[in-house]
């Protein structure tokens, strides 16, 4: 019976949807999640772009369906690698996953939905994260919004706020060449949320390119400009330094007028990128056919019809394990990976 079981590594949006789709198809998914709860990053967010839906609404919808479908969930359990050997669904295919202390969890197929890591903004020393008070990341802002405590470190309201895009993305200096895709729209969304809270503040957003790829994103950007009075300045912030009165001075070139610009602000928000998960390397090394893209994300078999397939039979991918994505995209891939895994169990189809 274990060959009909499908292990889903990670209980974020992608993994939860993969498990739900498998269960709906009469298969036996088990979600292995190293954290103490399901949800992945979704459980840390406040409201979701582009519709400003409460993150908790999406989270409880998914976790509710998981409970209703009776999906087996193993919490506080980390997957160390893919298990190989006898007893797989098909010859030479993986037969489960390896857990801590070499314990094996048998399965006929595996869906890797292990997600991404948040870029550690301390690596961009020039922005002073964890050095100056009042330099935050977009992740901090989500938490502050959730706690309804957005303020400067002394508890007062910011009068001038600067968002900095592409922190830990599109940057050879920190070995992250890729665009993280969601940080532009996240910064726009948060700038609008800060506007609601601080009607009098001046809010600036420093960008290299504005990437509004999704439905309703460009419209939200325009709304941020026109209605929320967010000032977008094209130029990469080179550094942040403290001023004598405890504020933060930032420097950039305003590339649209070709002149250097400086200003002091009370609050800096770094739009941190999505980094390939640290565990990808170990996972890829555990099974022939799994490989990493140059960005460190897991490389799908191809970008088109094989976008949820790996190079190994019986191992499928869903969500941000392979590249930065939105929650909606992760959910779509979760469902697709489930379908491919079901087809594989039935016929050995490797696609």
């Amino acid at each position: 019976m274990s060959s009909k079981r499908i292990v889903v590594i990670g209980g974020g949006p992608a993994g939860m949807q993969a498990a739900l789709s498998l269960a709906a198809g009469g298969l036996k998914p088990v979600i292995v999640e190293r954290a103490g709860e399901l949800g992945g990053k979704l459980k840390e967010w406040h409201r979701l772009f582009p519709s400003m839906t409460e993150a908790n609404e999406v989270l409880t919808r998914l976790t509710g369906e998981i409970a209703e479908a009776g999906v087996e969930v193993m919490l506080h359990t980390e997957v160390e690698g893919i298990a190989l050997g006898e007893g797989g669904a098909h010859d030479g295919a993986p037969n489960g996953v390896v857990l801590a202390e070499g314990k094996k969890l048998p399965a006929g197929a595996v869906i890797v939905a292990s997600g991404f890591d948040i870029f550690d903004a301390r690596q961009k020393e020039e922005y002073g994260y964890h050095v100056y008070d009042n330099v935050f990341t977009t992740v901090d802002i989500e938490r502050m919004l959730n706690g309804d405590k957005v303020a400067l470190s002394d508890g007062t309201a910011p009068r001038r706020i600067a968002f900095v895009h592409c922190v830990g993305s599109r940057d050879e200096k920190v070995n992250q060449r890729h665009c993280s895709k969601v940080c532009c729209i996240t910064a726009v969304k948060q700038a609008m949320e800060l506007r609601e809270r601080f009607p009098e503040a001046e809010i600036y957003s420093f960008y290299m390119d504005i990437r509004m790829f999704g439905p309703g994103y460009e419209e939200l950007y325009q709304q941020a400009q026109q209605e929320s009075h967010i000032n977008f300045i094209r130029g990469r912030v080179s550094e942040a330094s403290p001023t004598i009165d405890g504020r933060i001075q930032i420097k950039a070139e305003d590339t649209l007028v070709g002149r250097p610009l400086k200003m002091s602000v009370d609050m800096v928000v770094l739009a941190v990128g999505m980094k390939a998960a640290a565990g990808n390397e170990k996972l890829a090394a555990s099974c022939d056919g799994l490989s990493l893209a140059p960005s460190g994300f897991l490389a799908p078999r191809d970008m088109f019809t094989g976008c949820v397939s790996s190079g190994a039979a019986g191992v499928f991918y869903a969500g941000t394990a392979t590249a930065p994505k939105t929650i909606g995209e992760c959910i779509a891939e979760g469902a697709m990976a489930a379908q491919r895994a079901a087809e594989y169990l039935k016929s050995g189809a490797k696609r």
Partner: protein, 111 residues
């Protein structure tokens, strides 16, 4: 005989300091033409501008500088505009660009 000119010289500071610039007038202009805040500095207006094709006038540059509180010379530059309205026809953000011209002329005459 003057000194040899090596091409270096002391010029006015080129840096923009948003702590010093008075953004009040820029805000007033945007309040009169609210969609001006949605400008994406695409340069469509400059590309089509007849005046800009015959002189050094760059409407996009002038109004971007105005948004940063850099008003010096903006009024004078605007006198090159013939108010033909072609820029308004091309603006992808639907900005009443002629309205922006008029507001710059009305509010920034003293700079």
């Amino acid at each position: 005989m003057g000194a040899v000119n090596f091409g270096y010289g002391i010029s006015a500071a080129r840096g923009m300091d948003l702590d010093r610039n008075d953004l009040g007038p820029a805000r007033e202009i945007a309040d009169e033409v609210p969609e001006f805040r949605a400008c994406i500095a695409c340069g469509g207006c400059t590309a089509t501008c007849t005046a800009g094709n015959l002189t050094s006038f760059n409407f996009r540059m002038v109004h971007t500088l105005v948004r940063r509180g850099e008003y010096a010379g903006a009024y004078r530059e605007m006198n090159k505009c013939m108010l033909c309205g072609k820029c308004r026809l091309v603006c992808p953000r639907g900005i009443n660009t002629r309205g922006v011209v008029m507001q710059i002329k009305r509010k920034l005459g003293d700079y």
